[in-house]
Amino acid sequence: MSTSRSEPAPPVAALYFDGLSARAHAVTLTLDGATLHLNGADVSRSDALERVRLSEPMGQAARLISYADGAHAEVRDHAALARLLQDSGHRDHAFVRWAFDPRMVFAMFAGLLLAGWFAWQVGLPWAARMAAPRVPDEVVSAMSTQALGWLDNRVLTASTLSVQRRQTLRSAFDALAAGEGSAPRHSLQFRHGGRMRANAFALPDGTIIVTDELVDLAGDDDEVLAVLMHELGHVRARHGVRMLLQGSATALFMAWYLGDVSSLLATAPTALIQSGYSRSMESEADDFAARALVAQGRSPELLVSMLEKLARAHGESGDDGEGYLDWLSSHPDTGERIARLRAREFAVH
């Protein structure tokens, strides 16, 4: 305790309540060493400072000095109380210093944003990767059937490719996939793309859909197969399930967050934030396709040429993608993906 004070702090006005009746006693508080003296017209008491509890400062609100016997005093002259306590070594709780310091509040806020961003960018994908193998197959196939039904109702129509053409592609794909040792369960389906135009995508349950437009766009079947191997790469790494989990978790969080903001907004349907595969998922699928092609004595250039054609086909019409499917959504990165495919050597294992 410092002893540098020149004169004792002036008494602090307070209201005292004995805890037995609502009667208010106007009193003054003084500090003598470690003893707090309370004096009024018909009440007086002296207590060791360490035996009383002082409430946190909360702006203009009264500070409460609580005694062990249930009595308390309310102080509204904050400056006077601060002078009185100056020499007592009293220090406010850390929370109070944080909550009322603008710099600390700003730091907390920045930290919150950073933590949120980190959870979304790193935590959520990690959790989805861990959880993906544990999602029951029934759930995955039910979700996939639902998604395909949704697309069939709105965007896709029956394929106009000849049965023979489809059969050729299907058996070539099966042969290629079978060469990949532990190829996961998969099935190939053809559709007319309509608004989706030249496109191919994999559903979480292993259903791979390729549009007539993509088959027409390709120079030959080998290029189509290169694209299909890329899709098989997504299926194999369960990217679809992971995106599904991330999307559901995000939707759940949004519902909770908006629900907190206003129960009214929560009742409005929350749009599921649907984003394409992440860049690392695309690279993983590209690597898988390139390795499979090399293993079968084909060239990864097939995939490169297909990427270029798709980028041109979607780019020329000036559409920046509807964002929900594989080849469309990934097209801004096409240059990067091509460079990556060409830079790496895909050794035969």
Binding site: F17, S21, A268
Partner: protein, 355 residues
């Protein structure tokens, strides 16, 4: 030193001179001194710590929040205070979480399991809610005296089990009556120190308030339906406007209900010889709630603490206490010492369900 609330005693100018021979009735207004910018700090630190502790800190956060609002509420020169024990609140929240989880999971399991859990909930919930009322009352104080709640479990099963069931079976026709019974249970059993609260709000008043709300809803709904239908004949995509207009209608009705119910409850409440006057204007409340909602949406929730302060200030400062006699005359009830010692806090729950 002058006594701060000596000066705030404002004699009521239009008091009936024949009302009481002795002292004139005096009015004391509730004063709220919370500030949005100040509460923002508490709110953000609470939020960060709650996130970092995966929700565990939320119990401590609640105590801080309650203390901020209570201590900034002043009546006759003295502040209210909140004494809730965060550990009891945490326990209540864990129990609530488990009940919710059991409820959601049981029906996935089997119908029988679901029915068993629902039955258990029906038995447990009224008792929990009763304890929650008791917890909140007992942990509120003003001028050093605690509030209290003496409702029994018989009453709790009535208002939390029987009346909800009757309301459901009557297709909500008995809803206003349930609300009246609930308020009666809540306030007829409440006390400040040793002085009892009482409420005398007739059922008809509740039916009037709800009746107006339902009428506005039906008329507004019809108008919206007709409007959207006439638009949609020319342009089918106009149907989309329907849900938004309904949302706007609900936004319009909610402040009305909340204002009229607050006035109804407070204007018919007494504390010993004293009574209360609440003058919440539905129009003012509507303006506050609408601007709050716009602010919260535009700032992605950051306006929330400011919104809470604005709403609390208006609702609290609309209430006046009309005192018959001195406020110094209240004395502690016999349970005062129990609350102070915290003997029973070990089995107290705060399920935090707003009614």
């Amino acid at each position: 030193m002058n006594n701060p609330f000596e000066s705030s005693h404002v004699p009521q100018p239009e008091g009936n001179p024949f009302a009481s021979a002795g002292a004139l009735p005096q009015t004391e207004v509730l004063v709220f001194s919370g500030r949005g910018a100040e509460y923002f700090g508490i709110w953000i630190v609470n939020l960060v710590l709650t996130v970092l502790t995966l929700g565990i800190y939320s119990a401590w956060a609640k105590v801080r929040r309650m203390q901020y609002f209570y201590r900034h509420t002043t009546l006759a020169g003295a502040a209210f205070d909140y004494h809730g024990d965060p550990r009891a609140i945490l326990k209540g929240r864990i129990i609530g979480f488990i009940l919710l989880l059991a409820y959601n999971a049981s029906f996935q399991f089997s119908l029988i399991a679901g029915l068993v859990v629902v039955t258990l909930l029906a038995i447990v919930m009224p008792a929990l809610l009763m304890r929650s009322f008791r917890f909140r009352a007992r942990n509120t104080s003003w001028r050093g005296l605690r509030f209290g709640f003496g409702g029994d479990s018989r009453g709790a099963y009535g208002v939390f089990l029987m009346w909800p069931a009757l309301t459901l079976f009557s297709l909500y026709l008995l809803g206003p009556m349930w609300h009246q019974r609930l308020k009666r249970y809540q306030f007829d059993n409440a006390r400040y120190g040793a002085t009892a609260f009482s409420i005398n709000a007739p059922v008809s008043a509740f039916y009037r308030v709800y009746g107006v709300a339902v009428a506005v809803f039906l008329l507004g709904g019809l108008a919206i339906g007709a409007f959207v239908w006439s638009l949609a004949r020319g342009n089918p995509s106009a149907w989309i406007a329907g849900p938004f207009l309904f949302l706007a209608l609900m936004l319009f009705i909610q402040p009305y209900l909340s204002a009229r119910l607050q006035n109804l409850v407070w204007n018919s409440m007494r504390l010993g010889p004293h009574r209360f006057v609440s003058r919440v204007s539905a129009r003012r409340l509507y303006a506050i709630m609408l601007t709050n909602l716009i602010g919260v949406v535009c700032t992605l929730g950051l306006f929330q603490p400011f919104a809470a302060i604005r709403l609390a200030r208006y609702r609290l400062e609309s209430v006046t206490m009309v005192c018959d006699g001195s406020l110094d005359d209240f004395v502690a009830g016999q349970s005062q010492d129990v609350a102070a010692i915290g003997e029973e806090t070990a089995d107290l729950f705060d399920v935090d369900i707003a009614l």
